[in-house]
């Protein structure tokens, strides 16, 4: 009997308590900086090393390169770079393995669409996804990234 009264008291007090819900669809959620969201790609940094595609556990990354127009340089330029977000599990492997940090995580996560085709994101879309980029991208490296100008 005492317990029942106590329970009623708890719920009654909770009525005036501050609400714990977020106003999410109206106000965007702020994710912490280590959040694994949709990748941002900087095509200028990409050296087409294919490491991201090789490490990807779900094989959702496909990329092709093209020869550098400057014949002096042997580094290739990225031609196409697609991530299939139908199967991407946002595991962060591609961004960890990337030697130039051309591909990094952002805090964005809203991927819902009406059509599955729209989940196939290309180079330009990923480049345009430049909001809320993760600030520190590889905790193993010293700050600023060691091999940035490869």
């Amino acid at each position: 009997m005492k317990g029942l009264m106590k329970g009623l008291g708890v719920t009654f007090k909770n009525m005036t308590q501050k609400k714990v819900t977020y106003r999410y669809p109206d106000v965007p959620l702020e994710m912490p900086d280590r959040f694994r969201g949709i990748q941002y790609l900087d095509p200028d940094k990409c050296i087409v090393c294919n490491q991201c595609a090789r490490i990807c556990p779900t094989d959702c990354i496909t990329l092709t390169g093209k020869p550098n127009p400057d014949p002096e340089k042997r580094v290739k330029l990225v031609d196409t770079f697609d991530i299939n977000f139908e199967i991407c599990i946002l595991c962060d492997f591609c961004t960890e393995v990337c030697p130039t940090e051309a591909i990094v995580m952002t805090n964005n996560f809203e991927l819902a669409t009406y059509s599955r085709d729209e989940l196939y994101k290309d180079k330009d879309w990923l480049f345009a996804n430049n909001q809320n980029i993760r600030k520190e991208n590889n905790s193993a490296l010293p700050k600023g990234g060691a091999k940035k100008d490869a």
Partner: protein, 336 residues
């Protein structure tokens, strides 16, 4: 409205009755709409949420949207169901819930039929709803619906008995089965209200009423987290809406009955507050009872099925019987 009912039924008076009942039905529907809204809001607040707030200003149209959704849904009747009974069951369970409201006096002048056997009328008709529930379960031709209907009927019948017997104390105190006479007997301040001398009866009545309403913590027939719904598994669309409507109209009926029997009806808690009209006092007490039911739902976990019958037969029934004897003894010794 007293003068109308005993007179002969002519086309004129019939039309009048009909219009008044339709108006009252609309009032009840409005009540149910906002009772559901209020329930969801209160439960939301108690759980640190806001409750519905997207449809209309402050979410006020949420229930309207939900009901509109139910009404435009496909009306499915299972192929192997007993078609006639399946259609009849929601009607049987709804009609008594609306009809019992006729005998409830809201104020001295605002009532429909001030029967001299008001309580008996209420109890007798409200138990017909159980038939609707068991019919719905049986006619669905579905094992879950049948089991849910059986459980529901067992629960409602077992708790009907302590519910009725706990009221006997009130009847003994006021010497009448007429609801308006019972309210008259409670005039002159809250110390005359029946819930004080009949505190045991009051508690038994509340517990039995919550169980009778199939509401948490006695919502085993529905038990959304454990069962596949219960007696209304096979119902959809507006037939399902009728079962839900019956449930909420019973909330209205039980809250009114509690107000009338134990909380002094339309009488103010202190005699000097008489200038405030009785209907406001009635509404205030009524809303408190409704709020209390929602509060219980937000607080308590569900009773286990093996504890359910034990509580009804071994605790509430003896308590209400003891209440009758105590009332009789105290009444004989001190008040005669």
């Amino acid at each position: 409205m007293t003068g109308w009912l005993p007179g002969p039924i002519t086309w004129q008076s019939f039309t009048l009755y009909f219009l008044v009942s339709v108006a009252f039905l609309l009032v009840i529907l409005g009540y149910v709409t906002y009772a559901i809204y209020f329930e969801r809001k209160v439960i939301g607040w108690m759980q640190g949420r806001h409750g519905p707030n997207r449809v209309g200003p402050l979410g006020l149209l949420q229930t309207v949207a939900d009901v509109a959704k139910l009404l435009i849904k496909e009306d499915t009747i299972p192929k192997k169901a007993q078609r006639d009974l399946f259609i009849l069951a929601p009607v049987i369970s709804f009609v008594p819930s609306f009809v019992v409201l006729a005998t409830i006096p809201f104020t001295e002048t605002l009532y429909f039929a001030d029967l001299n056997v008001g309580i008996l009328y209420y109890v007798a008709l409200s138990s017909i709803s159980t038939i609707g529930i068991i019919l719905g379960g049986w006619a669905s031709n579905n094992k879950y619906a049948l089991l849910g209907g059986m459980r529901s009927a067992a629960q409602m019948i077992s708790y009907e008995i302590p519910l009725v017997i706990s009221v006997v104390g009130v009847i003994m105190l006021s010497g009448s089965l007429q609801l308006s006479a019972i309210v008259e007997g409670q005039s002159g301040g809250f110390w005359n209200w029946n819930f004080l001398p009949q505190i045991i009866g009051f508690i038994v009545f509340i517990v039995a009423a919550v169980s009778e309403l199939n509401r948490t913590p006695f919502d085993l027939p529905e038990a959304e987290s454990e069962l596949v719904a219960g007696y209304h598994v096979e119902y959809s669309g507006f037939r399902f809406a009728f079962f839900m409507l019956a449930e909420y109209v019973y909330v209205f009926a039980i809250a009114s009955l509690t107000t009338v029997l134990f909380l002094g009806g339309w009488h103010p808690p202190f005699p000097f507050l008489d200038f405030i009209p009785g209907i406001l006092w009635f509404l205030l007490k009524f809303s408190f009872v409704v709020f209390f039911l929602f509060w219980l739902r937000a607080t308590f976990p569900r009773v286990r099925v093996d504890q359910l019958m034990g509580l009804g037969w071994k605790v509430l029934l003896p308590l209400s019987l003891v209440n009758i004897f105590i009332t009789a003894i105290v009444y004989e010794i001190f008040f005669r």
